[in-house]
């Protein structure tokens, strides 16, 4: 740099001026090149959507028909946002089987996830033995009230989402 030149000299003044102009022009030239021929990297969100990766962790979805009420997800959850209740089937009921062959011994009476509390860490989905609790790719679920963020996966309207939400 121009430290050898005395700071009050005319030469120093013009050297400073020249370096200011030249470096600014150099930077502006880089920006200017972006006017043409550079691919646009942003997307216009509501119309264009980026395809999410296979492992993307969005809203949780529980396939209640497959759930064996083992409560492992509720135990693994670091923020305790999964509420499960179940009761025993009466004696002599023919037990249904989950997708991996495990008999469903308990009748699931409540499966609620408070999505407002959920931190999307994915720990609950890794412990699920029947893989009924999964992260869906659904990320547009804002609500007007905080109660609306509680999803009851036994409610008929949520069950009706199954085909839309569950990963293929």
């Amino acid at each position: 740099m121009s430290h050898a030149v005395p700071h009050n000299s005319v030469k120093h003044y013009f050297a400073e001026l020249w370096s200011a102009v030249s470096t600014t022009v150099r930077g502006m030239w880089i920006t200017f090149r972006y006017v043409w021929g550079v691919k646009i990297v942003t997307v216009e969100y509501p119309e264009v959507r980026i395809v999410l990766p296979e492992r993307a962790r969005m809203r949780l979805f529980n396939d209640a028909q497959n759930c064996i009420s083992c409560t492992q997800c509720a135990l693994a959850c670091p923020v305790d946002c999964i509420y499960i209740a179940s009761e025993k089937y009466p004696e002599g009921t023919e037990l249904k089987k989950a997708s991996n062959g495990t008999p469903i011994r308990l009748h699931l009476t409540q499966f609620v996830i408070d999505t407002a509390l959920c931190c999307y860490c994915g720990l609950c989905t890794t412990v699920c033995p029947t893989e009924c609790l999964t992260h869906s790719h659904d990320y547009e679920f804002s609500q007007y009230t905080i109660d609306g963020m509680k999803y009851d996966y036994l409610a008929p309207d949520v069950i009706a989402w199954r085909d839309r939400i569950v990963k293929a």
Partner: protein, 393 residues
Amino acid sequence: MQNKWDIDGHAEPHTVNAETEKMKSDLLTLNMGPQHPATHGVLRVEIKTDSEIVAHAIPHLGYLHRCMEKHSENLDYRGVIPFVDRLDYLASMSMEWTYVAAVEKMLGTEVPRRAELLRIMTVELQRIASHLMAFGTYALDLGSFSPFLYAFDEREKILRLFEEVSGARLLYNYIWIGGVWNDWTDEQLQRVGDFCDAFEPETDKYHALVSVNKIFLKRTVDVGILSVQDCFDYGATGPVLRGSGYQWDLRRNMPYSLYPEFEFDVPVGTGEHGTVGDCWNRYIVRMREVKESLKIIRQVLKKIEPGSVMGKVPKVLKLPKGEVYVRHECPRGELGIHLVSEGGDSKEPYRLKVKSPCFTHVSMLPLMAPGQMVADFVATIGSIDIVLGEVDR
């Protein structure tokens, strides 16, 4: 620096004249933040100014306090990982690895070689992403907007890779006790290599845009100077310490994991444009570290071999009685995790103490601020690159 403003020791005014004089010399209290873009989060700095000169700066912390340490005492060891993610949310991988390394040290787990290499790769990628963020926001602080966009363009590519492999963009929960969650496919590793090749010329663009720019130099050179002795006194680490010209990198000086196998340099501030330890040196150290990280990633890609990514870990984690302190080199400095376990049937940590580098650096603000212009103070805050999630915890 000698502080010539003595806020507490004003003499009693005896006459009207003396009172007027006192009013003239009084300091104006100004609150910077907590909703101030230049404070990088919710930091409030109470500054006392004498016209345009900062006389005192007192950082007020705690706006992002989430009781993380107390929370983790009621969580199982795996459940803490999402919480340590949220410490330094711009470098979650590094945070996870430090915590996981502490647990593994107590368990005595053998981590498979592939998992360890993948950890090094993700952490170095994360370091690049974090330094890009630091570069972009620092340029933004000093009034140039477009470097921010260029930096985010490249950072986005890294985050996309992380999203594909872990499922989340910022709070990954990817590095697990015993290994890593998911394996990278060959195609993804190939893309990491491609990214390295494409990214290397981009850094030259950043230097041309910002590092040598005269306006940037005028704003950062000889501003916020920290001597090595100051850094030692306060316990500064990471780019702040290296910017002062002291070569200290835990990856090199106290190697952990597989770092001894890798060749890389530890860049230090050299003071081309002014004094060593000023804002420009801290900035340029980060930019040079990005290149070193690229070197490490390329070596990882050469060394990597197929294998398992998860070691043998019991399903229910119970740690033996004892305590451990692990520190790792994170993008912002040295993160330390002090983990205490009761032993017995306990599935939770007895105590988890986090030693945060950003907290140390924030406490250096009162040292650097006196005598600076207010605008230079903004440059100083930006140059230490703090993340408030880590300061407040």
